[in-house]
Amino acid sequence: MITQKGEMSMDFKLSEDQKLIRDMVREFAQKELPDLAAQIDEKPGFPHQIISKMAQLGLFGLFIPEAFSGGGMDLLSLILTVEELSKHCSSIGIFTALQAGVIPYAITRYGTQKQKENYLPRIAAGKLLASISLNEPLFLNQDKTPVLTCRLEGENYILNGFNRLVLAAEEANLFLLIAQDEKQQWKLFLVENGIPGLKITGIENSMSLRDLKLGQMVLDNCIIPAGNLLGKGDIQLEIRADIFETGKLLIAAVSLGIAEMALLKARDYSLERKQFETVIADFEGMRWMMATMQSKVTQIRALLAHAVNLKTAGEPAASEIAIAKMVAAESAIEITLDAIQVYGGYGYMKDFPLERYFREAKATEFILGTRSQQLNIIANKLIQK
């Protein structure tokens, strides 16, 4: 709920540590991000300075075990972090979801001791920037031709294929990629940027996320040492799903952050803007619209809290996570469109961040699975029961 001070209270039951982290990130985000967000939307460019400040604060290592120079915090702490960042700059939120969440989770859970030692401290320190494709299907077509293939040759794997919509493709140093071998077995690889055969061939001209640049990556006979195979070898697709689930919770936190900020701006504006000789917050039409926005924010938060709790407890949560991710994005889109509506003509103009919030909310819908992909997960779980 929004309190009089404009603060949002959390419906998650937070420990003192979690509160400390949230408050620290909130303060950082309020100070550093609002201007940056507008600036990098207009003139796309990788925000190196902010990224290094975040690394200094330890934000990228929050979720990494202490043994590997991380903060050893839980998933909820990272969720809160991403939410606070996304209130002011969603692309930083999304980047953090990958850098501090998806990749560290995959390496910590499935990597070898050597991989953990090699990568996790550098990721925590922000010296290694890690990324994945935000949405790449496994297959090219109905013949089930894989998008990316691998084959073992001596000590090395040879990778061929491509990945699109790779976040920060030019700037990232490390990618987590999935490839299929001749025996139709899946393998996860940690692939370093700049190796021979790996090329970034194009940058999307996209509606949002313009600063971090969504790139297309082509792998042409890339030689990957066997040591870069994540874990011990063949994986089941359940492992990829597990990694994605962590990511989807973080992306739902991005949607939540955008939605909260849009509501806050709409609320403040409705108390300032006078029409018909009174502030527009006095009109029932406006009040109910904002009440509906608030109820959607609360729904996102409740769904997210429920799904995070299940995931943290190690319970099966595929359906709950799909629901939280889908509803969060959908509601964020509706809330940001309504916030534009509260602002009227001003909302349509780039002088105000409202139209940007909408473009950002729209992006959260496809990242790590579109609405229809989530619906299929939910339906499959339902029918299996």
Partner: protein
Amino acid sequence: MQFKEFSKEHLEFQEEVRDFAQNTLKPMAEDLERKSEFAMDLIMEIGKKGWMGIPIPQKYGGMGKDNISYILALEELAKVCGATAIFVAAHCSLCACPIYYDGTEEQKMKYLVPLASGKKIGSFGLSEPNAGSDAGGTETMAVKEGNQWIINGQKRWITNGSYADVIVFTAQTNKELRHHGINSFIVEKGTPGFSPGNKEDKMGLRSSNTAELLFDDCRIPDENMLGKEGEGFKVFMRTLDDGRISIGVLGLGLGEGALEEGIKFAKENERGGKPLIKYQWVEKLFADTATELEAARHLIYHAAYLKDARVKLSRESAMAKLYASEAGTKACRKMMDLIGKDALNRLFPIQRLLRDAKLMEIGEGTSEVQRIVISRELVGR
């Protein structure tokens, strides 16, 4: 859909505009958007075709067609380019039409003829920084001195503002009377004391020009008042009643354009080895969207028909605008869902159509204002 009121001429004209929209305008639309500049060459071409004065009688430089024809033309333009469509809508519905309906014969000969024949560009200045939904709160002042009016104030979000040669605008002549003290005037580009101000940087409709209008002791002759003194509020309320049909049809056209893009995408793509069009959720998406757009189309055409019948249509035009603009945005959103991750790519027109469509829920009265208009018509004030 074909209304029984549609004559062969209507259908031929619709076909003519559709041909231009699909074959000339559509291939240009992305480029116009990227440059975000007013496309003067394109406007000249549209003017030469007579489409800047479709519902204006031939003796005043127009094509002498009815409002149904005009609305059909806007629909075809909006399907491919919201910015071009709103140029025509603002020029014609908000500038040429009020001069035609409320102007003196001299005003019509002097201003309407060049507007309708596409030799001059028109614009309408109503909104102000503090007078959006509440147009009665207009702060721009007009003070009489001899046979001149001295205008001071600022207008904002004025479509075609930087390029207009002729601008119909509103100003207060007596602040105590509030909205009854509002009168409409005509000002020409280049009049001392009048200048266009900053251009707006918008979410969508990016090649359409939106600007401030600044009045600083601008003197205009008495004969430039549009309508009788004291009736200015009535003039612009009727202008808005008519204009709303044109904004509504833009929402409708953009939604139809989105549906066309969605159908094209679904025919060309598959998911999991199955063509998209074979999925039931896709069938539902298309069926629901097409049904809503069809309902919107009926409301719009009906309002245009009432306009031709010269019947009061405040309620019907507000309903048409409310429903069609919301149906348009919804259709764009649904088709974006269908196209999925590619929809975010600026090379796909769908995201432009959605950004364009959102304005139709805001411009010429937000959806909230339409609901007030409709309700007041129902219960009486």
